[in-house]
Symmetry: C2
Subunit: 244 residues, 2 copies
DNA sequence: TCCCAACATTGGACTAGACCATTCAAGATG
DNA sequence: CATCTTGAATGGTCTAGTCCAATGTTGGGA
């Protein structure tokens, strides 16, 4: 009674625009300039808002880059990011990048319920929260927040102000070698703060990696959360024995 | 000359709405009805479009669920999904769910460049493409596409029409036991087709897991891609030695 | 020649509305 | 009492426009 042959999935108009753009993009080199939003709207007989919705998704997929005042460009290929090495420094070097960090914040605070259970300390116990922007070849890769017990690692806040690698400090100053434990991965829209740090748009999808690390005696030592740009990064892990 | 104290990250209006909603949501039980879009727009002195943009992100984060004609509700908690077991069947059972599958398509096609290199066969060689909807307790969890060499696994298309578990078939009918190789994880917006299958919205962020599996002789056997709803699933892997 | 101010153009954010599809409850009908 | 019809309310999609912020070009002045 409704429609004779019902399409399996009704396609919104913006999605038609998106597919049209996708085929145009495929023929172009990374860095090429794409038509302006107003041009596309006129050309495809639609509104700028609808064109914009298609562009938002293509940007989220890492196919396009928009620069206000300048134009929309075909994006560079995504970067792959290994997950099986222990530290950011190692992972960056495996990717052929020069790793660096900017210390955003380092505070001695009291553990809330989440942090307390993850570090196996009592609620309210003093913990260090170290927040860093991680860079590869001076380009922002991830924002990373780490929590560690302040009782176990006294003066960590002072030590971190001069050091680059947290894991190196733990090994040299405290004699702790980390092994990774559970890791969880999900996707969330970027907050304005994270977007600004990662030089992307508010609301664009990020990959969030939460990880707990243990020492040789299986005591939880570090609880960390990393935010990666979903449009620039593909996380890669080799699961079985190592590949090469 | 521009502004006396520049805020670190200018907050869009829709983000203020989002934070307002987030605090309201936190006090509510999953399943609770939230105010309508038009009410919120009037109440917060903004347009429905802006309210909608905030809702889109909260839905993407898995905090809210919208039902056309009915209303907007507080969502159930996300489901965690293990990554360290070999098959979907095992993973579902580890989660306490009854696994099932719907065979969407099963075709014998010629390998394109990507598939050929992943399976280590020549371009144009015959391969099977098996596309399945994976369910846990009858709820859609993931869409999964697998490619396997048709030369190595003759009559796989016929066999799969009756079988549920691909890995079980490989073991029983062909004597192959798989071990996992590299795995990559990224996030993409849902196509209308995937959205319909996973009962979510077109454009909502999905987690895409691509994986290559090998046999005991380290020959690539299966190349698969899985799409998970990013608002419902958190991927979990235990990295070091097994946790328990 | 060099620098800087003015301006046109781009994407970014937002508005106020239209129309549609789905849901669900209230009321009419058997 | 059960069933069907109707219609109001909801979210889904799209339009056509405004104003703003960032960019890059152009032309005038030192």
């Amino acid at each position: 009674m409704t429609s004779p042959d019902r399409p399996a999935a009704r396609e919104p108009k913006y999605y038609t625009v998106k597919r049209h753009l996708l085929t145009s993009i495929e023929a172009l080199e990374p860095g090429s300039l794409v038509a302006t939003e107003r041009e596309l709207a006129a050309e495809l007989g639609t509104s700028r808002t609808t064109v914009r919705q298609a562009l938002v998704e293509l940007v989220a997929e890492g196919r396009l880059v928009r620069r206000q005042g300048s134009g929309t460009y075909v994006a560079e290929a995504k970067m792959t990011w290994p997950q099986d090495l222990s530290s950011f420094t190692e992972q960056a070097e495996a990717n052929g990048l020069v790793p660096s960090s900017r210390l955003l914040a380092s505070a001695r605070i009291r553990a809330d319920d989440d942090v307390a259970s993850m570090l196996n300390v009592s609620r309210g116990a003093p913990v260090y929260c170290v927040e860093r922007l991680r860079l590869g070849d001076e380009q922002p890769i991830a924002v990373e927040s780490s929590w560690l017990s302040a009782q176990r690692f006294p003066r960590l806040g002072i030590v971190m102000r001069r050091a680059g690698s947290l894991h190196a400090v733990l090994a040299s100053d405290y004699g702790v070698r980390l092994r990774k434990g559970e890791e969880s991965i999900e996707t969330v829209p970027a907050s304005p703060e994270h977007a600004a740090l990662l030089q992307t748009d508010t609301g664009s999808p990020l990959l969030v990696v939460k990880r707990r690390s243990f020492d040789a005696e299986r005591t939880p030592v570090e609880w960390s959360t990393s935010w990666f740009r979903g449009d620039r990064i593909t996380l890669v892990a080799s699961l079985g024995k190592r590949a090469r």
